[in-house]
Symmetry: C2
Subunit: 234 residues, 2 copies
DNA sequence: CGGGTGATTGAACAAGTGTTTAATCTGGTG
DNA sequence: CACCAGATTAAACACTTGTTCAATCACCCG
């Protein structure tokens, strides 16, 4: 089994049991979703169900540990590849490395299920896009928007959501070996239409936009709000 | 409880039991997801769990019946509003009608879970977009693409996926009363950035697109394939 | 009215779930 | 060595799940 461990968690060449359980859980949750049973995970890790709750308190505790691990991993990996690309690109790169594929799969399952990790992740995506778009705007390669925050959220939701849906439909089996290839294919299918849309747009004239701007003339209204993942209160 | 029944399924003013069960299941599945138990649905419909399997054979049979019902409903409703708008717009309209909101919620749950209905639905979305884009192209309001099929799929996945993700994060509670308002807010947040992107694009110059076209010079390659929901074999 | 057919129920079943508990094993410390 | 704390296990527990079964109920046809 691939070791998802970073450092300071192994002892004498073999991982500490708790970490081994957690990593097995990430793999199994990624493959089967969160309805996977404790006994299955225990068998994967070569232990008993009781031991899992001994170490993590409950199944939810185990899930929290997985969340934290994946999140920490995301942060670490983001620093390494901060220079290039949006969040989707980052995920795509990571999914190529076979060792990291389980993490990405786990992330997809989390967004499929909703919850805190998902909210935090979309928050990351949005702030990544924010930085990326701002830099591009300053450099003159990205056109300014009438409502920058809204556009940022829009783009982040589009990119993340379409990826999630695509994998929900095409990767339902979710064998982790095929996963890197799937991800590559998704990116290949995506690139041309995305680039086309981003450079040339879709509509031939401005009438629709102008009509809307006439009808609703308050784009960048209120809104600095930090409670929600994307700054939009309910 | 609101009656989701069309016609020819009621008898003497009250719905036939099987239909009542099915409709209750649609509401409950939409609210709680497919992990909802048979007994809960039975209680909602005022019957016993055993009766459900007596009528539908199994829980999966019940789900199939719900799928079929929602699909038939979609087809019927699509004919009525064929003139205007893409698939997302259609869903938005339907979600406004309180009577139809449970159906839309059920659809979202289906796409969240994957499976046949989800595949068929994204197929609808794609063929809708195909018709809509072709008409627009012929009328000169939509720019042509280097790979029309790919762009169609791309746009359908973007629209559907971002909607799905948005509701997964913001509508996790999923109280069906608040649902129409949620949907309206989603559309409001979406409209300006979408129109902007569609008419003006995102990038200021063509360099990225041209570089890509230089690097990969075979856009509309093979591909008529009907096995997959979106014409892309695995 | 008699009888049969389908609707409907309540209870039981078997399998699965997360969790608890008591016992055992193991390793380090006094 | 004695001893204790933590790791680990196997079994049991309480609960939910989908499904089955036998019995009852209601109604229509002859």
């Amino acid at each position: 089994m691939t070791s998802l461990g970073g450092a300071s968690e192994e002892r004498g060449g073999e991982l500490a049991t708790a970490s081994r359980i957690r990593d097995a859980a990430i793999v199994r949750f990624g493959r089967d979703g969160f309805r996977a049973g404790l006994r299955t995970i225990a068998a994967d890790a070569g232990v008993t169900a009781g031991l899992i709750v001994h170490h993590f308190g409950s199944k939810d505790g185990l899930r929290r540990a997985c969340d934290e691990r994946v999140l920490e991993f995301m942060r670490r990996e983001k620093k390494k590849a901060l220079t290039d690309g949006t969040g989707t690109m980052l995920l795509a790169q990571m999914a190529q490395v076979e060792q990291f594929a389980p993490m990405v799969l786990y992330l997809l399952r989390s967004m499929q299920a909703g919850g805190e990790l998902a909210a935090e992740l979309i928050g990351h995506m949005i702030s990544d896009a924010e930085a990326y778009l701002s830099a591009g705007e300053a450099a003159g390669v990205v056109r300014p928007s009438r409502d920058r925050a809204a556009r940022t959220r829009y783009l982040a939701y589009q990119a993340t959501g379409s990826m999630l849906l695509w994998f929900t439909l095409h990767g339902g089996d979710a064998e982790p070996e095929k996963f890197p290839a799937l991800f590559r294919r998704y990116m290949e299918e995506l690139t041309l239409p995305a680039l086309e849309l981003f450079t040339e747009g879709l509509l031939a004239d401005r009438s629709m936009l102008d009509e809307y701007l006439m009808y609703v003339p308050d784009p960048p209204s209120a809104s600095p709000n930090a409670a929600d993942p994307d700054g939009t209160a309910s």
